[in-house]
């Protein structure tokens, strides 16, 4: 099973340029037309399951607005 991931978009920085939407290999990012950022843009958001945490969205993001998380199967070390 592919590792699951998720992204968090910081609305303070996101300018809705949609470069991450175009770059996402899984096509699970879209602009959130329901909300506006403090600057007045529609921010990017995760719309579906299937994010693998590949971080390609973060690689193309010009505003470093995206934090990417991915599941890791590391055992907890005490």
């Amino acid at each position: 099973m592919a590792l699951k991931g998720t992204i968090e978009v910081n609305h303070k920085y996101c300018k809705g340029c949609s470069l991450c939407v175009e770059a996402c290999p899984q096509n699970v990012i879209a602009l959130d037309m329901e909300h506006l950022t403090p600057k007045g843009y529609h921010p990017a958001m995760l719309i579906d399951e299937g994010c693998t945490g590949c971080a390609i969205c973060a690689v193309v993001c010009p505003d470093a607005a995206i934090t990417v998380y991915r599941e890791s199967r590391k055992k907890k070390t005490k």
């Binding site: 300018k15 340029c17 470069l19 175009e22 843009y41 193309v60 010009p62 991915r70 890791s72």
Partner: protein, 255 residues
């Protein structure tokens, strides 16, 4: 046990401010790559950046380390002074094409001729972004800008300047490469080049420049993605990507 680990987060070398760049402008990407490299190398505390005049004029607000603002085009001259007085600091300039290839042509060429131990990040977006999309020295032949509305006519307006090729002919240059920011793979390659350019300076090997092909969606009148496609389709063919000069000792560097 499944845990969520952070794969990517905003670099520490950034201040928590928003940038004034237009949505989709790859200046932000270039800033981010520099910030990531400074974080990875652990040299943020001793880094001194020199900002140009142009769109990136406010770069000093965005980086969480020492920054100075140079007169238009004079960033390499200022960086020379800083590096000579404070040789233990990491000094880099961040310049656009209007700054480096136009008004600052003499400064960059002579900094390279002297083999100054500085790192230069050169953003080539083929247009003057800050002043409203006028023709730059790097504007492609036939490209429409506000000051060349019929397209750049090379008969009267001259030919675009290829800076990496030009600086590679100078003996003082240790590292001169061209990369592009138009897709994820090329962004990753750009980061590696920036890393190497900073390693060159850390080891005192001389002048290093990374030219980054960049997009200007606002003045090209494209969407951000179309602007990146323009870079990939049109600019890369005029400005071929590649390593124009890598000194043998730089080639031996393991980064």
């Amino acid at each position: 046990m499944i845990e969520m680990e952070v794969v990517y987060s905003r670099p520490e070398s950034f201040t928590p401010t928003t940038t004034h760049y237009c949505p989709g402008c790859t200046h932000g990407t270039a800033h981010r790559l520099v910030a990531e490299v400074l974080d990875e190398m652990g040299i943020r505390e001793k880094a001194i950046g020199v900002a140009p005049v142009g769109c990136s004029v406010f770069a000093y607000d965005y980086f969480n380390h020492d920054f100075v603002e140079a007169a238009h085009g004079r960033a390499p001259a200022m960086a020379t002074g800083i590096k000579r007085v404070r040789p233990n600091n990491t000094v880099y300039t961040y310049q656009g094409d209007g700054d480096l290839a136009s008004i600052g042509m003499a400064e960059i060429v002579h900094a390279a001729i002297r083999g100054e131990n500085i790192t230069v990040i050169f953003i080539n977006n083929a247009i003057y972004g800050m002043t409203g999309g006028q023709m730059a020295p790097t504007t492609l032949p036939g490209m429409r800008t506000t000051s060349s509305p019929g397209g750049r006519d090379v008969e009267t307006m001259g030919y675009p300047v290829r800076m990496s090729e030009m600086l590679s002919t100078i003996d003082g240059t240790s590292y001169a490469v061209r990369r592009s920011l138009h897709n994820p793979a090329n962004v990753r390659k750009s980061k590696k080049a920036i890393r190497r350019a900073f390693e060159v300076q850390e080891r005192g090997m001389g002048f290093a420049m990374v030219e980054l092909l960049s997009s200007c969606p606002t003045n090209l009148k494209f969407t951000p993605q179309q602007a990146l496609d323009f870079v990939g389709d049109q600019m890369v063919s005029y400005y071929p990507l590649g390593d124009y000069k890598v000194a043998p000792e730089v080639k031996a560097l393991k980064v």
